[in-house]
């Protein structure tokens, strides 16, 4: 079990039929992600990075190839709560408190009342929001709202975390802070994490592996293993290794762009 890939895509393709003819959102994507990895997907808009994530979450149906999550179809994996999904916007319900928002998936999944409370408490502590449970979303900053939405994705103990540009709407300083927090969280939970981003430093800082994608058709241009140690202070971003990886990512992005 330990060596079996958590996510395995083979020759994955997804073609949307539109009025202007077919759009190849994904073409021939093969990738396997092992347990506990932190994999970032980076690329320009339309490269299929979000589409790939949505396929893993069974929000899109691939038209070619195969995709398994924990050895199951994505649909089956969803039903056994294999993953938590964090969207671009926090998407908290304004009529629920922070604790109420984190509780939402637990209510839907039918956890007992006591267990709901325990879990909410636990994950709010994990994202440093324990004292904000009774606040309403509008009383929190954007960064705190996004942390609450991460807590919500973690509440039901999924061992895969899918994150679609979760910090894209936040400013640089908040983003740095949340990146640091996210690494701590990842170390604490050991979740397999798939992370979509536009930001090269963010991708390099967070990941054990970086998947560079290019558009039309959306495909993988390069896969870079990060030699950075697991323990990463923010100033690792000034180190030579960091800059070298960032350079390679940039090269990959440029190559993908020129032949498109």
């Amino acid at each position: 079990m330990t060596n079996a890939p958590v996510i395995q895509a083979k020759g994955l393709g997804l073609t949307f039929q539109t009025g202007d003819g077919p759009v190849h959102a994904l073409k021939d994507v093969s990738l396997s992600v092992a347990k506990g990895e932190f994999v970032s997907f980076i690329g320009p808009s339309g490269c299929g990075k979000t589409t790939f994530l949505r396929c893993v979450a069974a929000l899109e149906e691939p038209t070619e190839g195969s995709l398994t999550v924990n050895g199951m179809t994505p649909d089956a994996a969803r039903r056994v709560r294999a993953y938590g999904y964090v969207f671009q916007a926090a998407g908290l319900y304004p009529w629920r408190t922070i604790a109420g928002n984190v509780k939402l998936p637990l209510e839907i999944m039918g956890f007992s009342r006591q267990e709901q409370q325990d879990r909410v408490q636990k994950v709010l502590e994990l994202v440093d929001l324990a004292s904000f449970g009774k606040k309403f979303p509008w009383q929190l900053s954007g960064g705190m709202q996004q942390r609450a939405s991460i807590a919500r994705a973690l509440a039901f103990d999924a061992d895969i975390l899918l994150m679609d540009e979760p910090f894209g709407a936040l400013d640089e300083i908040v983003r740095d802070h949340l990146n640091e927090e996210l690494l701590k969280l990842w170390a604490a939970t050991g979740n397999t994490t798939l992370f979509v981003t536009h930001s090269i430093p963010e991708a390099v800082y967070l990941s054990t592996r970086i998947v560079v994608m290019s558009p039309r058709p959306g495909r993988i241009a390069d896969v870079i293993d990060s030699p950075l140690p697991k323990d990463r202070p923010l100033d690792i971003r000034d180190s030579r290794e960091f800059i070298e990886i960032a350079h390679r990512v940039r090269e990959g992005l440029r190559a993908g762009h020129s032949d498109a």
């Binding site: 039903r79 709560r81 999904y85 969207f87 998407g91 319900y93 408190t97 939402l104 839907i108």
Partner: protein, 298 residues
Amino acid sequence: MSRLLPVLSVVGAIVVLWYGATIWLNAQWTRDQAARAGVEVSFSEVVAQSFNQDRPVLPAPHQVAVELYQSTVGEELFGRRGIVQSGSLSNRSLIYHGWVTISATLLGFAMGTLAGILLAVGIVHNRAMDMSVRPWAIASQTIPILAIAPMIIVVLNSIGLSGLIPKAIISAYLSFFPVVVGMVKGQRSPDAMQLDQLRTYSASQLQTFWKLRLPASMPYLFASLKVGVAASLVGAIVGELPTGAVAGLGARLLSGSYYGQTVQIWAALFVAAIVAATLVGIIGVIERRTLRAMGMAH
């Protein structure tokens, strides 16, 4: 206090304009009377008489105010048939007639709101209903209510329903539509991301409705209810017109117009306006409380 002054200024301006219009519209009758009697009337006499005719074209504000007082407080407290002396509301009082209309309004509003919500839920969750019911709901509102009200009354009367129920149905006919429109829009207000998120939890349609669509539609619902309750009142009054009803604000309007009792008509109109403003105000209060309790108003 800062809000009182502009409100009072506007009310003052309206009263001044109204008195002006009273002279303009009623003077002719005074002059005709004088000409018939062969006497001269000065302008000040014309003005004085314009304010105090028995059946003016346009009653002066103070005449309406006096009629309002006499047909509510005066009639009930001091009248022979008032509640103080007879133990029941007088059939000459606007309190009695107002209540008859309000009860039909509230019943019709409740029916219309319920029907509106149910239809909206059906429209949002069922494609066939979306295609089939929505055009009919829109078409229903293009038919003049004055044309259809007598038919509803006649049809229902023939199956033994009369009095409150037919009026409430006409009232519901007018009030369900804004509720349908608002609730459909409200239930569709959650964006694709929020719906995707519930899919990642494998939430059922029922859970999506209770957890997301229904709470998200509350602000839309209240906006619709305000329109709906005013429409309900109009429906109840219109429902009283074609029946030769003996009670209700509509009946007062009708009998007032039969006998040229313009003062009575205006007093009934004012009661209707006050009732409408009060009902809309009550819904506004419930709206504020509900949304605040939901954390959506701040």
